[in-house]
Amino acid sequence: MELFLSQILNGLAIGQVYALIALGFSLVFGVANIINFAQGALFMLGAFIAYSAIAWFGLPLVPAAAVSVVIVAILGLLLERIALRPLIGAPYVAPFLSTLAISTIIDQSAEIVWSPESQPFPASISSTTFFIGNAYITVTDLVIFGFGAAATVALTLFVSFTWTGRALRATAQDASAAAQLGIRTDVMRQIAFGLAGALGALSGILVALYFQSVFPQMGIPFGLKGFAAALLGGLASIPGAVVGGLLLGIGETLASAYVGDSYRDAIAFTLLLLMLLVRPNGLLGGGRLDALGGAGAAAGAMPTTSLLASSSSQQSALRAYYLPPWGFLAVGAAFALVPLVVSSTYVLQALIYGFIFALLSASTSLVSGSVGILSIGQAAFFGVGAYAVGVFARPYGLPADATLAIAIGLTALVAVVAAIPLLKLTGHTAALGTLAIGQIGFLVFLNWVSVTRGPMGILNIPHPVLELLGGLRFATTEQKYWLVLGFAAVALVIAERYVSSPIGRVWRAIREDRLAALAAGLPVRRYILLAFAVSGALAGLAGGLFAYVQQVVSPESFTVETSILVLTMAVLGGLGNLTGAALAGFALAILPEFLRGFAEWRMIVYGLLLLVALRVRPQGLLGAR
């Protein structure tokens, strides 16, 4: 009981921090109607700038925090200017992807500036502990809770009683009406982003104080938790964000106390998915979200994930270039000749990764492009396939036909189950759901030690043997090259058949207008689940092949970075265009193999590429489909 009470008090403190992150999401969502994926990156920068101010310049905590808050607020303004302003009137997916690109760039730059390692935060608050009866609470908890609560109250007063605050609220409620009243809605957008930056920085510093450490990858998990809190509270409501943050904080602290600390995040993200499943509009839900049949849908306002239609401009028809299904076989046949002329295992190895990422990128394009549910969790499916081979190949001595079949089937199943919470969602919200899936996948790979061997990974995966081909063994690089190429080509043929069949047409119809698809009598959920099954099967196959090629499976191959990488490939190739996805996946995977020393910069370059592409060619290289 004492433990229980202490955990609740402890949870309130961290929950208050989540509430602050959530408020950043809510403000921006309210005013600009987008989910700012970079909120987590701003949060992380807040912590690191404070860290540097203390560790490098010797500032005391409070001035360091103030400096950090100001700098990150300005960065928030810049974010709006650089990543979003040019995209006003662009397709609905563009602004979200743009914040995703910025987030990647910031995260990777932080790893270069501050090193990827976790570092102790150089300031702390007294560790004195108070007892209330038998329950205890530390001064740190109290200070964090106090600061968080004060910031929330200040924000509430600001939006309630100042002119600017009221203008912000008016813009959030009805931007065009606000504009008619003479409110500069573009300025309001900037203010919202600036405030979101300040809130992000403050929460980053509080988290650094709470956990006493900072690391460059902290942005995404905490950003996702802040988003979960915001969603719990209905996404566009300030009191909702606070309640959501506190509930999440308490829930997660209790869970980690009773289930184990390593499951802390997994539990938070599972809560998020459950939330999406049962109450997609949040606990205090307003009607702002696009749950089917809600108020927005009746008014025709449900956002479309259409790749072409946009809020203002109506772009004319865009051409898409893609191969017919058999074209993948033809390309595959041409590549099959390469080992006859190229003997360098180095080159062949690079090409093998190219094929695997072509497959993975196509699997991402299928859900993200055809169905319009941006997948930021594809690495989890990739990982399930890889671990399936890792687990079944040696101990059970199964041939590759069997292990790959397991990889494909199991991943398809996992993808279908994972997609169930996403069924009621569209647009950006569904994308954040896939991010949660990706994070859960990674945490399971990392922590389910009895099966995955945790951070160690599974070593010594045997060479693949195809029993169906009379026990044919693929031991050399050349042989593996043909194996991977063959499977990838056939899988892409099947995927392309799907996309160009009536099923693919229904997927695109669902993406363009889900409500109209329902009104046309289509079982929309079934079709979405089918898309996830196919996408999961492709990703699972890619993972299985990857495991055989690497001969090692370990969690770091399946991080969110991998998911973002393959989504970037899919966007650059042209969303929904499997040929484009395969081409971009192939090219971006082999490129760094030939440009050594570039590794650290790779994700930054890809992030920049994505940012530029969204401005100049949002339909991707070969055209979205």
């Binding site: 009536p502 079982p523 099954a533």
Partner: protein, 281 residues
């Protein structure tokens, strides 16, 4: 009270205190054309939302051919043969005209004669392998789609390879109707089909509906329409809705010339924008 008809019985829908539909009852039998008229905000569109399952009634019941539908999801209701258009037409912007109409017939493609859906594995096999049974089905659906597009003369058919987002306002409405008709619905619910159309186009639409009545004598048609001259020509009955309630239900001439209607409906509309041109509400 059921049988071969859509029967709406004492249905209400409240939006945060506002009774958009307030105890409305209505019957649409197969073979008849009923028009709903009423001032903006009368609850006409909401009624279609409720019948099609896009929105849920707070009370009351709705039956389609004897099946209670007020708790069914919209796709199930559509597969019972209820096709509906939206007031702001909903086309699939990036899909071509041809693909859009094919989406309209897809539900028929995967439905067996007993009304069940073909399972996804069989559907995948059919679609990927191009099995003969599947090809026959596809061919039949494509024929239906082509016929539906050609109902609109040279308005849509020559544009079948263009994406829907490039279509004019009137053509989007036509495309939406073509998509509905391709599915060969038993009931057709149209929400202001002539909004945004000029007099010539309205005349075309009127003829289309009159033709449909002839060629599809078993189809029940429900039209929300502001253009009363059109209503008088196409409708067997008119339901006048005001503040969510059925004010009057009668033959067009009786209903439209009823003093209470003129008072409640035209009186208000005249003081505001030109009633004939009211498209929104």
């Amino acid at each position: 009270m059921t049988g071969e008809a859509i029967v709406v019985d004492n249905v209400s829908r409240v939006f945060g205190g506002l009774k958009a539909v307030d105890g409305a009852s209505l019957k649409l039998a197969r073979g008849e054309t009923v028009a709903i008229v009423g001032p903006n905000g009368a609850g006409k569109s909401t009624l279609i939302q409720l019948i099609s399952g896009v929105d849920r009634a707070d009370s009351g019941t709705i039956h389609v051919d004897g099946v209670r539908t007020d708790h069914l999801p919209p796709d199930r209701i559509a597969r019972l043969g209820v096709g509906r258009s939206f007031q702001t037409s909903r086309v699939f912007p990036a899909l071509t005209v041809w693909d859009s109409v094919l989406v309209g017939v897809q539900a028929g493609l995967i439905e067996t004669r007993s009304g069940r859906l073909i399972d996804p594995v069989t559907e995948s096999a059919g679609a990927l392998l191009g099995l003969p049974f599947w090809r026959r089905r596809v061919a039949a659906q494509e024929a239906a789609a082509e016929a539906a597009l050609k109902l609109f003369g040279d308005r849509l058919w020559p544009r079948r390879d263009q994406p829907a987002l490039g279509l004019s306002y009137a053509n989007r409405r036509r495309l939406e109707i073509a998509r509905l008709l391709a599915a060969e619905p038993r009931y057709l619910l149209l929400d202001e089909p002539s909004a945004g159309m000029n007099p010539t186009e309205t005349e075309e639409l009127t003829h289309l509906i009159l033709d449909l009545r002839r060629t599809h004598p078993d189809m029940g048609i429900l039209v929300i329409e502001h253009k009363l001259s059109m209503v008088r020509r196409i409708a067997d009955r008119v339901v006048v809705l005001n503040q969510g309630r059925v004010l009057i239900e009668d033959k067009p001439d009786h209903a439209l010339d009823h003093p209470e209607v003129v008072e409640a409906y035209l009186g208000r509309a005249r003081s505001g924008a030109n009633f004939q041109d009211a498209h929104h509400g």
